[in-house]
């Protein structure tokens, strides 16, 4: 009997959490099929849908390319080479994650547009008088948006690739070298293919985040499919058309991810014991050392140090105006919310991933895919999608209570912090699921088999073998979700209860009026609150290894 119960729980739990995360998306897809007499979808097809689609595609491809160019070299050099400052860069290169991309966008626009200090300096140095006297690339373009998004998102790829490179057995690389391949050849023919799983997870995270972004592209005046969703929904009031476009975006994403999965269906890579790169790091010298260091520090400077310094400058000059009584309360709100979301997201990720490990198959695969879909949906759309089922539940619940002679309890789920947490989970569980997936993928099943053959139960195996082996992956998943939740804006804006501000929503009311100076201090707090746990965890990890 007990066995039955546990086995039922183990099957029901993953289904339950997947349902929680997928129902809102499903509600959205369903409303895409309801009757729409506004004709706005055909209108879109006739006019701008093609342009929006091309822009979206170009943007995603560009962001993936730039992120790869930024992340791949540093990931490899840090995993496999030794050079001065490596230990600092190793974790510092993750820091840009803590900066909200829309803030970086504003900071760079201020810096690089016509009246910004860079062009002013150029003008005064070269004696140019006006715009037509010289050429300077416009930052408010698709290209600019792609660069800024990549600066904000490359750490995902960096983190996953570095992990993969570190986990790879160095022997393979050595074997490739001894068979006559140059280090570069060995990298492209052995190391990179071996990291394909991490590469795929990283790229799909970046693609999803790009697809779901609205604030940054909107700021850069780039019209994407997300723009179409916003226009049709919030301006023309057609939920159906907006849902159709969102569903279309999701469909494309599902197809791409499935294709990638299909293409490596027979590929299985596990970490083996023995020498890893840690012992075999190349010691870089001469120009190689300098160029690697230059590249890594330049990347860190552009993606983190410079925007942060500018924020600090603004915060310093507007300190008195920005330091309000509420600031501390908003900081706490943001932080507690992010902690709760990160904890639950981690649990969800473990549940669906272990379900997949213990009973691989279509059901488990579906759980992983479906629970991750929300990441690609823009925050505002997620917010409404979450409202659809939960307001229904609330209305139903109240009716039930009234029927049984109780008084109404109001919007129990959809009017409280509950829905905010669910909204965040729908949006960010993908990050946790992806991180756990990729770290669990490197734990060979032969370990599980050995443990089971020695008489350990599945639960004992998870507890004593798997969990300790993916501890790093778990911490990473937790921190990544925490940082994302600290930054999240649109979901919070629309789902928060009365008088509940997060730092991000507080920042927004200034940023939306281009008053970045007033937003600088709370924006710095977002960064700081995301970074503190990150640094603490990193210290713990370094100590333990």
């Amino acid at each position: 009997m007990k066995l039955n119960l546990t086995s039922n729980i183990y099957k029901l739990l993953p289904l339950a959490v997947t349902t929680l995360l997928f129902v809102p998306i499903l509600a959205l897809v369903i409303s895409a099929f309801s009757i729409d007499d506004s004709g706005s979808f055909t209108h879109l097809i006739d006019t701008v849908l093609m342009d929006y689609s091309i822009n979206t595609l170009l943007l995603i491809v560009a962001v993936i390319c730039f992120s790869f160019i930024f992340a791949m070299p540093v990931a490899w050099f840090i995993a496999c080479c030794d050079f001065p400052g490596r230990t600092i860069l190793q974790w510092a290169l993750m820091l840009p994650l803590a900066l909200p991309p829309y803030i970086v966008a504003i900071v760079y626009t201020d810096l690089l547009d016509y009246s910004g200090p860079v062009q002013q300096l150029l003008r005064s140095m070269m004696g140019w008088q006006q715009m037509s006297d010289y050429y300077f690339p416009d930052i408010r373009t698709l290209f600019g948006a792609a660069v800024i998004l990549s600066l904000a998102l490359y750490p995902y790829l960096y983190l996953l690739l570095r992990g993969a490179f570190l986990g790879q057995s160095g022997g393979l690389f050595q074997a490739a070298r001894s068979l006559g391949l140059s280090p570069v050849q060995a990298f492209f023919r052995v190391s990179l293919p071996l990291s394909r799983s991490a590469l795929a997870v990283g790229i799909s995270l970046i693609a999803m985040e790009t697809l779901g972004d609205f604030a940054t592209v909107n700021y850069f005046a780039v019209s994407t499919l997300t723009t179409a969703v916003y226009d049709t929904w919030l301006q023309l009031g057609s939920l159906t058309t907006a849902a159709k476009i969102s569903s279309l975006m999701l469909l494309i994403l599902v197809i791409l991810i499935s294709l990638e999965n299909y293409s490596r269906r027979k590929q299985k890579i596990y970490q083996r014991s023995g020498a890893t790169y840690t012992e075999l790091r190349f010691k870089l010298t001469g120009w190689k050392k300098w160029s690697v260091m230059g590249y890594a520090w330049l990347l860190l400077f552009c993606a983190f140090i410079l925007p942060l310094a500018i924020l600090c400058y603004y915060a310093w000059h507007y300190f008195a105006e920005s330091l309000t009584d509420e600031l501390w309360r908003y900081t706490q709100n943001s932080f507690y919310l992010a902690m709760i979301v990160a904890t639950i997201a981690l649990i969800i990720a473990l549940v669906v991933n272990f379900y997949q490990r213990l009973s691989p198959g279509f059901a488990a695969k579906s759980c992983i895919r479906l629970s991750s879909l929300g990441y690609a949906v823009p925050g505002t759309v997620v917010a409404i999608a979450v409202l659809i089922p939960f307001t229904k539940v609330d209305l139903w619940l109240n009716e039930l209570l009234v029927n049984y002679g109780f008084s109404q309890i109001g919007l129990f789920f959809s009017g409280s912090l509950f829905i905010l947490v669910v909204g965040y989970l729908v949006r960010f569980s993908a990050i946790a699921v992806g991180s756990i997936d990729s770290s669990l993928a490197q734990v060979s099943p032969s370990l599980d088999q050995a443990s089971r053959s020695l008489g350990q139960s599945a639960a004992q195996t998870i507890r004593r073998i798997n969990l300790p082996l993916i501890r790093k992956g778990m911490l990473t998943a937790f921190i990544l979700v925490l940082i994302e939740a600290m930054k999240e804006l649109p979901t919070a804006l629309l789902l928060r209860p009365f008088n509940f501000e997060t730092l991000a929503t507080y920042v927004y009311q200034f940023v939306s009026d281009e008053m970045i100076e007033y937003a600088a201090l709370p924006a710095l707090l977002i960064v700081l609150m995301g970074l503190l746990p990150f640094i603490i965890v990193n210290r713990l990890l370094e100590k333990s290894s």
């Binding site: 506004s38 209108h43 879109l44 006019t47 701008v48 342009d51 016509y114 009246s115 006006q130 715009m131 416009d138 408010r140 850069f220 005046a221 019209s223 916003y230 226009d231 929904w233 919030l234 301006q235 023309l236 009031g237 939920l239 505002t380 917010a383 409404i384 409202l387 659809i388 307001t391 609330d394 209305l395 109240n398 109404q408 309890i409 109001g410 919007l411 129990f412 959809s414 009017g415 409280s416 912090l417 804006l493 629309l494 928060r496 209860p497 009365f498 008088n499 929503t505 009311q509 200034f510 939306s512 009026d513 281009e514 008053m515 100076e517």
Partner: protein
């Protein structure tokens, strides 16, 4: 069960308001703009004001929340949102002598479903240095060849611009407005971007000579130590003075259909129409008060008097969807 009920009620108490002396606002207007007015209301009446600000999606949220929505009133930053709420049947009529006396009939619904609280003009700013004031300028001028490469504006899809375009459709018809939009797009110095302040900045920088922008931004910029130089670089013009009058948009308020604190909500709505609150709209936000007899701020008054477009506000809503479709057809923002 008892424990469950207790925790339930605690949870609800935290989130929705059932206490009598409260009023809940869903606001499209930024808190820092309206907080002083609301604080004054609380000070006078002792009624606590709960505020939820978002720029998008609030209408959809109220729709979803249905009968259980905690929202009592909605404050909007443009007129079309008022109409959207009305059309979605999310509002209810307010029969208030105070409101009817304070707000001229032009600025409220015939069925008392919505009330405008302040108005703002869509001005054309011109570079003081390169152009100087242009008192006879029209919106139509901006699409003529003489303005080629000289015009800046924010996204055509922004509610302020959509309303302007809707008013053009009402006056000139759809076909002419489309031609106008094509001409305007061809005249833009750069792709539509940024907000109204950014356009004034662009004029200062010499990117363009003319910019579309609401009047109150100029006042706000003159207050800001960093932006004052932008504001000083432009002259403010009231367009279409010899023709249809300048396009005016309105901020406003509705009482939500299922408002749980209806009495308090009406008290607040009435307060917003009184001299004291209208004065604060005028002084603090540089908007034009709707109540007759309340003067605009000194600064706003110094920009001169003007003839406003007398188009019924409901026409703006009527052509809203057409305006967006035209914007798509000419690929205005692309």
């Amino acid at each position: 069960m008892k424990k469950l009920l207790l925790s339930t009620s605690l949870f609800t108490a935290l989130t929705t308001s059932v206490i009598a002396d409260e009023v809940n606002i869903y606001s499209f207007r930024q808190p820092f703009l309206i907080d002083p007015i609301l604080a004054k209301f609380t000070e006078q009446t002792g009624i606590k004001v709960n505020l939820l600000f978002a720029k998008d999606g609030l209408v959809e949220r109220i729709k979803r929340e249905g009968v259980l929505s905690p929202a009592d009133i909605v404050l909007t930053a443009d007129f079309n949102r008022l109409m959207a709420l009305n059309e979605a049947q999310l509002t209810q009529a307010v029969d208030s002598k105070v409101l009817n006396e304070n707000i001229p009939s032009y600025y409220r619904d015939t069925n008392n479903q919505w009330f405008a609280l302040s108005t703002r003009v869509r001005n054309i700013y011109s570079s003081s240095e390169r152009v100087g004031p242009v008192p006879n300028i029209t919106y139509q001028d901006l699409a003529t060849p003489a303005f080629k490469g000289k015009v800046c504006m924010r996204s055509g899809k922004h509610p302020y611009n959509v309303s302007l375009i809707a008013s053009m459709i009402a006056h000139d018809g759809e076909a002419n407005t489309k031609t106008w939009l094509e001409g305007l797009k061809a005249n833009l110095a750069r792709k539509p971007q940024g907000n109204d302040r950014a356009q004034v900045k662009a004029v200062k920088d010499g990117v363009c000579d003319y910019a579309l922008g609401n009047n109150y931004y100029l006042g706000k910029m003159l207050e800001d130590p960093k932006q004052v130089s932008w504001a000083e670089a432009v002259s403010i013009n009231f367009p279409n003075q010899k023709t249809t009058g300048s396009h005016v948009n309105a901020t406003g308020v509705v009482l939500v259909k299922y408002a749980p604190n209806k009495n308090n909500a009406i008290k607040l709505m009435e307060f917003l129409s009184t001299d004291a609150a209208q004065q604060m709209y005028a002084e603090g936000n540089y908007e034009y008060p709707v109540k007759e007899g309340v003067q605009p701020s000194k600064l706003v008054a110094s920009w001169g008097t003007f003839t406003a477009d007398k188009l019924p506000l409901s026409d703006l809503a009527k052509y809203h969807a057409t305006a967006i479709k035209l914007l798509d057809e000419v690929k205005f923002d692309l």
